[in-house]
Structures are given as C-alpha cells and as structure tokens.
C-alpha cells in the first residue's frame, strides 16, 4: 500500500514570497490533516478535512494560510505572504475516517520550509 505523498520535500523562500505544498493521501482515506511542526515541538494541527469539507481550521492563520482539498483526494496548502516564523516542517496525514475507531493517522515525510 502506497503511503502519504508530499512535495516538495524542501523549499527555501524569501519572506513575503508565496509557497504551496501538495499532498496525496492514502487511497480511500476520507480524512486529511495538515500539521505544522516547528523544530523541537510537536505537530500542531492547522486544518482537517473530511472528504472535501473542513471540520477544523481553528489554528490556521487565515490571513496568510489557505488550503483546499479537490474532489476529496489531493490537497494543497498555501502560504501568502510568508513570514520568518513560518519556517517549519509541514506534515500531511490521512486516516480512514473521522470516527475515532478509524483515527490512526498515517503521515507523509513532510516539507521542510525555510523562510529567509
């Protein structure tokens, strides 16, 4: 079974530039998550999709971050404009469903973003 795919793996940009990350979840997984992991910290949930609807985006900085999940499969996360404090690893994860019994999350390798 193929895992969660993410691209790019690394990205370096100047502050105030824009950047986009792509995620392809495990086939058949209804729930998709985007996390931000700053060095030395645990992952922080940014947004959670159930199919192509948003179920939680309470910690997404909506003035600069946006995300979409097209046709309930692939997802993109965008930052516009980037700030220095956005330097982090952005992790995508998926799970079978929103119900707790299917809540084991499978993570991709992450995208390491450096903002200069």
């Amino acid at each position: 079974e193929a895992g969660v795919a993410q691209s790019p793996r690394y990205k370096i940009i100047e502050k105030r530039q824009s950047v986009a990350f792509w995620c392809n979840p495990i086939s058949g997984h209804a729930t998709l998550y985007w996390y931000q992991q700053i060095l030395g910290q645990g992952p922080k949930l940014l947004i959670q999709f159930q199919n192509n609807g948003v179920v939680d985006d309470s910690q997404l900085p909506k003035d600069r971050f946006s995300a979409e999940r097209l046709k309930g499969v692939d997802s993109t996360l965008k930052i516009q404009p980037a700030k220095l404090e956005d330097s982090a690893v952005y992790l995508c994860a998926s799970s079978l469903g929103r119900d707790f019994s299917y809540n084991e999350q499978f993570f991709g390798p992450g995208t390491r973003l450096t903002v200069l």
């Binding site: 998550y33 645990g42 809540n103 084991e104 999350q105 390798p109």
Partner: protein, 110 residues
Amino acid sequence: EDQVTQSPEALRLQEGESSSLNCSYTVSGLRGLFWYRQDPGKGPEFLFTLYSAGEEKEKERLKATLTKKESFLHITAPKPEDSATYLCAVQRTGGFKTIFGAGTRLFVKA
C-alpha cells in the same frame, strides 16, 4: 485549555537499560490517547491508541499504559534502533482535533 506535557524532554539510556516516558494531559473529556514514534527527517509513525484508564497495549519492547491523568510508555531492554522521538497526542470528546505533546527524544547507546 487542552494540554499535553511530555517528560523528560530527552532521555539517554544504555542498551538494555529499561525506562519509562511520561505523558500527562489535561482535557475536558478524553476520547483517546495516541503514541507515535518519529525518526529524524520523517513523519510520525503510529504505535498505540489507548481509550480508557487501566488499558495497556504492547508491541515488541514497548508497552503503553493509561491512567485518568497520564500515560506511560515503558521501554524494556531498549536497543539502539529504538532511538527516536516519541510523541504523545490526545483527542477529546466533542471534537476531532488531535493535540500533540512536544515529545521525548530517546537516545540508546550500544
């Protein structure tokens, strides 16, 4: 406010030296607690889910236990390949957000 605190921040063990990692949590109602392992440069890998106080789960040298306020990850006779960051996360009732702790970095020396 929901909170997950892990201790110690880092732990150095000799191969074969058993120990425990702690995860204390504060949530309005616990739906479940997760343990993940994270290797450098990789995403977290699922280990266990615990649902209620008194529950225990085992996998190879790892055993996770749960009380009403904390969880322990016991590592018996660790090997160098057990070196990683171990993350604890909780999900509360009435919501679907998963809240992670900062993790414990485990180093096992041969």
